[in-house]
Symmetry: C2
């Protein structure tokens, strides 16, 4: 059966591409929209940036905020979620001995940012260990709640964890933390387009998410949501013209993030186009695509786990369009400079399968993470399972 959606992507047809999750991939109509915007910029760069850009920016904010259930005023664009997390961490008023909670499943880049910024301010990073395999979300919630002390001020947590691909109930976490006097920074790097979002319901202090992963916009498009009471203390990493803008028609929060030096804004200016594209691609639009991807992902995970006699590592409710499961320990130490697992290399070079194998909790323990986007077919995972069966 020919997949009807593959044609919208430029992905190499010789590759079995099962890693949408790491960087995303963009459909051709969205790339064409981006090229159109770029041509507009090149036609008259000064007119574009000085006179027209803000309207494009606002249209993208309107379109995205409707999709993620936030107020337009509460979101700004950043190149990626890592930048969003860094921005939040640099902005929060951390004092000596303040505690920030993070889990052992936090994305490495953001964990580094947390460690670095906390150290600068003599704050304390407290790691909560979340097991994987995990029995239920409640197990995670309980561990988070139990880790809170009087000194705990913030929690940094992934909405969908990166190595283990576990979806947590962000709304409940934020609410429970708030009850304990703890504010939450949610790193939703993988969330937008993978799961339905309603930020007005979640109401964290900060929420950041990439649009270039599961909303499939070009690389370099993400948003940072900042709850209104945190906007006054939140500064972009790059201080620019907004700092002393004489404008009073918009918030300083907007004015500062709106301009952080000349760059290419087209990755996030295509957000309205991406939302329209998927919403008209199939009946039911983006929410239907999320459902289909999740269904395919679960089906694929269950099939592979069964084939390889692996116990399902988490309840179905915690799975979206990515799923991770443990595989046998690595026997070959990964080599610099890339430190890629030898099995991942073998799958890629010998079988043209692109799928990530991650050392978790650390080498030689490892997990494999599959992604399911509408350009993927069940047969691709069947093939993966057969090859894995042979290789491990």
């Amino acid at each position: 059966m020919e997949n009807n959606f593959k044609k919208y992507w430029r992905i190499d047809e010789n590759i079995t591409f099962l890693n949408h999750g790491s960087f995303g991939a963009t459909p051709i109509p969205i790339l064409e929209k981006q090229a159109e915007l770029r041509n507009l910029i090149e036609k008259e760069p000064v007119k574009f940036f000085v006179r027209d850009y803000e309207e494009y920016y606002e249209n993208a904010r309107i379109s995205l905020s409707n999709f993620i259930g936030s107020s337009q005023k509460d979101i700004v664009f950043v190149p990626n979620a890592t930048t969003g997390v860094n921005t939040a961490l640099r902005s929060i008023p951390l004092k000596e001995n303040d505690e920030i909670i993070v889990t052992n499943q936090e994305y490495n880049a953001c964990r580094n940012a947390l460690n670095y910024i906390a150290k600068e301010k003599n704050a304390v990073v407290k790691e909560v260990e979340i097991p994987f395999p995990v029995k239920s979300f409640d197990e995670i919630l309980e561990k988070l709640i139990n880790s809170v002390t009087k000194k705990t001020k913030y929690l940094l947590i992934d909405h969908i964890s990166s190595p283990t691909a576990l979806i947590v109930d962000a709304k409940t976490i934020v609410k429970e933390m708030k009850r304990l006097g703890v504010e939450t920074i949610v790193d939703g790097a993988h969330s937008t387009g993978q799961i339905p979002l309603n930020l007005k319901e979640i109401e964290p202090a900060y929420y950041t998410s990439n649009c270039h992963k599961w909303l499939c916009t070009p690389k370099g498009s993400a948003f940072l949501y900042v709850r209104e009471d945190f906007q006054k203390i939140t500064k972009p990493l790059v201080i620019s013209h907004g700092e002393n803008s004489p404008r009073t028609d918009k918030s300083k929060f907007f004015l500062e993030f709106f301009w952080t030096g000349t760059g290419d804004p087209t990755p996030f200016l295509t957000i309205p186009c991406a939302i329209d594209f998927f919403n008209t691609l199939i009946e039911g639009g983006l929410y239907e695509i999320m459902k289909r991807n999740r269904k395919l992902c679960l089906q694929a995970r269950d099939f592979i786990c069964q084939k390889l006699s692996i116990e399902k590592p988490c309840p179905d409710e915690m799975v979206g369009s990515m799923a991770s499961f443990p595989i046998s320990d690595s026997k070959i130490e990964p080599k610099p400079p890339l430190f890629i697992d030898s099995l991942q290399d073998k799958l890629f070079f010998d079988y043209k399968i692109e799928v990530p194998i991650i050392y978790f909790p650390k080498y030689p323990k490892r997990i494999l993470r599959i992604s399911a986007q509408i350009y993927n077919d069940f047969e691709e995972y069947q093939r993966l399972s057969e090859i894995l069966k042979k290789l491990i």
Copy 2:
């Protein structure tokens, strides 16, 4: 006479585009190279970013470092010079009451960054007033030297000032400051491609420059040079995977800046293409283009100044391919939200001339800045002068 070079740009032919300086503009062959690189990314995003990207990055570093006279190891890419300046300012070890010198002609965004970061660290920003019109570079140098006290630790200075377009002798400034125990951060936002650069001779603590202005790469490409002794204390604004990388084959400075989250690296990956393009475009390549642009710029400035009976505001040696001169005071207060001078609006809307008018030192005093890139012709400035003559 038809300009032979206009055809390489996508700039609207109905516009007299005399503001290359604000955002640059990119020739079609460089945009095509960028599109090619983007297609490569979309073909296999994981292969590109994980396996291939570093080689592209290094090729861009090699090509650029040869052009700007630095060691490949001492430069990294940033989206723009404002980010470069913010990075330098956040990295330097400022203590309470340390002084940083800056001139009144500093670019507003970077001045904001300086004020903000200095305030955070209780350091003192000391403004040195540079007159405009100015008699000579020596007048500037003397003022800078005289402003140094025992508490002075750093100087932040533009290699080519933004409002007034004055080129300073960065090498002499850095040397004289060093002699007085002061390290220099040079903001060369407008320098790369406008004037020959030799960073090994200038040897500042930091040097940052946009490539998207006068090297004409796509928007979002700049470099940050960090002298070796400053590399260990220099951190990117976004802390990411590099912080705890197990790699030992390259410096931590490189590893940290190389990856700051997913984005579109193609603007700076086209640097080798841009250098090749201009070097083969005409006999003598980029240096010949710099000479031609400067010649046209001086010719244009002198012509307009003569027509409008304006005294030349600086010696020719301080002029590159941009030139500013004072014009009559504004009589109409600029309106929010854009605060664009009414004469600039009139030139744009009624005469289709794109040229910036800047309030300097402040409203109602104003200066007009012309740019000369090889797609410009003398006739365009003649036309501007005639219209200005009529309007002011």
